[in-house]
């Protein structure tokens, strides 16, 4: 018979995960609430300029 050990689960804040994604640039670049449709979905309608190097 297997003994299951009960341990206190670590407290996890999902905001930590979101923050990690954010810092890695994994969140949508639209920055608002507007739908996160990738610009590549409309290649004929987008001007996608890379920012100049600082």
């Amino acid at each position: 018979m297997t003994t299951v050990e009960h341990t206190t689960p670590a407290s996890v804040d999902p905001a930590d995960f979101v923050t990690s994604l954010h810092e890695e640039g994994q969140l949508p670049q639209n920055a608002g609430g507007d739908p996160s449709v990738p610009d590549s979905a409309f290649p004929q309608h987008h001007v996608y300029e890379q920012p100049a190097a600082v």
């Binding site: 804040d13 999902p14 905001a15 979101v18 923050t19 954010h22 640039g25 969140l27 949508p28 670049q29 639209n30 920055a31 608002g32 609430g33 507007d34 739908p35 996160s36 449709v37 610009d39 409309f42 309608h45 987008h46 001007v47 996608y48 300029e49 890379q50 920012p51 100049a52 600082v54």
Partner: protein, 207 residues
């Protein structure tokens, strides 16, 4: 009215003006000034409204965007915002899932749209003082996405819309995934900065 009642009746949730420390706003302003130099142009010119499966609607817009850094992250993770988001929407535990700066130059715009379906509440404010009110149509809040798109297809800035004030460094929440909203072309000579923070309930619910 309570936060919850105002949300249900009007689709908005006000954040007290003193909820955020003035020092944090200064840090955010400094961060935004740096982010502006590396912000990405967002210029969707696909005409008309595109209905998405999550209930959102995408539409043409032009501005520059940046997801922000530590200062904006600190704002997004303010307990007071999560508490207001939860109390207003009746959700158990709210997490900021998307946030960033939107840099508007003179003439930049955002046609009418509905926010991503994951945005249970969208908070917004001006980091700069000259942003005109946003337009919105609360009376269309509970129409289906297709009904909204059919009604507004020819109107990037719908007639009969109401004004939603975008305050200077005072956040206001609204039901952005249901209530169609937009920004008419910026008519100031100055560049303006909008902050947006969207919350969602990420807690696992028993099925």
């Amino acid at each position: 009215m309570t936060l919850r009642q105002t949300w249900l009746a009007e689709g908005r949730a006000e954040v007290p003006a003193d909820a955020i420390e003035p020092g944090l706003w200064e840090e955010i302003a400094e961060e935004a000034a740096h982010c502006a130099t590396v912000a990405v142009v967002r210029h969707n010119r696909r005409p008309g409204l595109l209905v998405m499966r999550d209930g959102s609607i995408t539409s043409p817009q032009r501005c520059r965007v940046h997801p922000g850094g530590k200062a904006l992250n600190a704002l997004a993770r303010s307990k007071v915002l999560a508490d207001i988001a939860g109390e207003a929407t009746g959700q158990a535990r709210m997490t900021p899932i998307r946030y960033g700066y939107k840099f508007y130059a003179p003439g930049d715009y955002m046609h009418v749209h509905r926010d991503d379906g994951k945005c249970d509440i969208t908070f917004s404010c001006g980091l700069t003082p000259n942003l005109a009110p946003m337009g919105w149509l609360p009376r269309l809040r509970y129409l289906s996405t297709q009904q909204v798109a059919d009604e507004l297809q020819e109107e990037p800035y719908p007639q009969g819309g109401e004004e939603f004030s975008i305050l200077h460094r005072v956040l206001s929440g609204f039901d952005g995934r249901r209530i169609p909203h937009w920004r008419t072309p910026l008519d100031t000579q100055s560049g303006e900065v909008l902050i947006t923070i969207c919350f969602s309930d990420l807690s696992v619910k028993p099925s």
